[in-house]
Symmetry: C2
Subunit: 373 residues, 2 copies
Amino acid sequence: MKFKIAKKDFLDALSLSSRAISSTTPLPSLSGIKISVTDNSLVLVSSDSNISIRTAINNNDSAALIIEETGEIVLNARFLLEIVRKIDSDFIEVETIDGTLIKISGGNSEFKVNGMEADEYPLINFESRDNNPFKLDTTLFNQIIDETAFACSDKETRPVLTGVNFKAKGNKLYANATDSYRLASKTIDIDQDLDFNITIPSKYLSEIYHAIANEEQVTIAIDTQKISFIFGNSIIDTRLLDDDFPDTSRLIPNSYSQKLTVSSKEMINAIDRTLFIKSDGKNTVKMNIDPEKIELTATNQSMVSSFETIKVISYEGEPLEISCSGKYLQDAIKAIGSDEITINFSGELKPMVVKKEGDDSLIQIISPVRTYR
Amino acid sequence: MKFKIAKKDFLDALSLSSRAISSTTPLPSLSGIKISVTDNSLVLVSSDSNISIRTAINNNDSAALIIEETGEIVLNARFLLEIVRKIDSDFIEVETIDGTLIKISGGNSEFKVNGMEADEYPLINFESRDNNPFKLDTTLFNQIIDETAFACSDKETRPVLTGVNFKAKGNKLYANATDSYRLASKTIDIDQDLDFNITIPSKYLSEIYHAIANEEQVTIAIDTQKISFIFGNSIIDTRLLDDDFPDTSRLIPNSYSQKLTVSSKEMINAIDRTLFIKSDGKNTVKMNIDPEKIELTATNQSMVSSFETIKVISYEGEPLEISCSGKYLQDAIKAIGSDEITINFSGELKPMVVKKEGDDSLIQIISPVRTYR
């Protein structure tokens, strides 16, 4: 194996590959990246067995890759990335010296790394049985992740809640995420008639988010147990969560008894000042709302308390006292991203609905906590 | 107790006070800052019992402090700093509500914190018995810290080595730091005839460094067990290390058999590329030096190795093979801070001397490690 490659292209490909590398893998070969050099391309494969990435650089793409000898090797991802990042040269040469001993050089630097035989690397099948892949704008896809993924559960007690559920039906795409105390629910119209119901682990969505950020569109293929994201010369396969995602539509109240509109920025800043006040590691804010103002309070066990007064833009209904996680309320308002925020209440123990007035495409639901007096 | 203060001034004073707060203190009151309000000043005292800080804001300094009622209280440093930082207002009001319950308010925010009685706070004596304090430029003092403190030991096995030794004698000030594998040694001429020999713990030097960074001069008073840094309305007292600092002058070789001059930047960058190659957690670089070039190599247990070639500016003596910590060599070259660096060798097992050619005011000594073949 022998090739010369532009440092920038190699580094980009290795950075992408590294997104599938786990620091704790039981299989030694999975701490490596499989490099396969054929007559006309360099292919990198990496995997933690839940997310797998294949990316190729073709030598006809540009003069950035010159292949002198084909071959395969598995090289430790962390060392490889560190070496290529550090070499002070526009071009990098990679060459088999003897068996699995590889030389990586550029400028005045020369590194030797002992790799593993490529046949020790597990076979990863990047084929998909989906005959009907579809394209999606990456801006839209990443916006959906921004608006929902934060609401996923970070506990493994109910694995399916650690993912974002994507459901397509009759030209609509629904994305839902919940940890059972809050729900982020996004609905968008799509110009394709798709039919699927899948849940993608949020930690892999975060890798996909960054991997596709510079692309315009991504092609998505859905198989029984995995989803493939295809862009440029790359493909990312991610395992899906098996269990059925709960039916979240029944969690969304369809009437309300109180309706509050307030400045998003003032709410976010007021909550921000109280976030350090925690009891049992949790920050809870109590809101006393009337047509004039919200009085927002938080208290902890060390007898520290805060009291914030926030002007109300409009309020309908009886005065209300309600408590909830300050962090959850802040997350919800940030995800909506509008200047003003509307919160619909149905009483002090019923879920509150946070949204932009007149826009039901994105709603954030938060369960209140009981107010202790 | 009741006062109103400009947020900026209060925050600056609290940030300074917080430098003496330890997150792990056995004495509950030491997690707090003692606030004493007299007719004409606000005084903050903080301490972790090794470093103590007293800072005052006088109400005749400016209109930035308005005292309405005198009094004393101890308030949790972390909460207090968080609250004052977060309050969105140019002025902050602090007021005793009832006993030890204090209200801190500004803008639309109001916080209540339960403090501790000031008489629960230990008595800290900021007086010094030094009748002959002297002034030092902070730029010079901080430069000495930059050039030496990194060479202190981070292990408590020999406590005196965790500090920088300052010795003054006959218009000379000597600063030395060593972890017994390397030595940073600075000598400066001073226009005062001082006589002392003290060792200041490096972790407190780092706090002093930042605390005095914006001052021009600092007044220093030395007592038997402590040193005081006096600037503006503030005083920082730091415990000294008891044990005798070893005599480092005999570690400095006064002759050499090889002398190398090389570009600092090229050496720093070449070492930088090898730093990730560690055996037993340590990065060791081997240098093969001849009149033309340095061949710098590093190897780890995972069979990763690097090979760097660095052009020599000048070299006197026989070719030499010598190994040392890459990090130590890099630290030494960075501390010297000149474009070119000179290294004097006395053989492969003798300490090497890193310095700027023709300047003996700062020398860095590094013990080599045995080269394994």
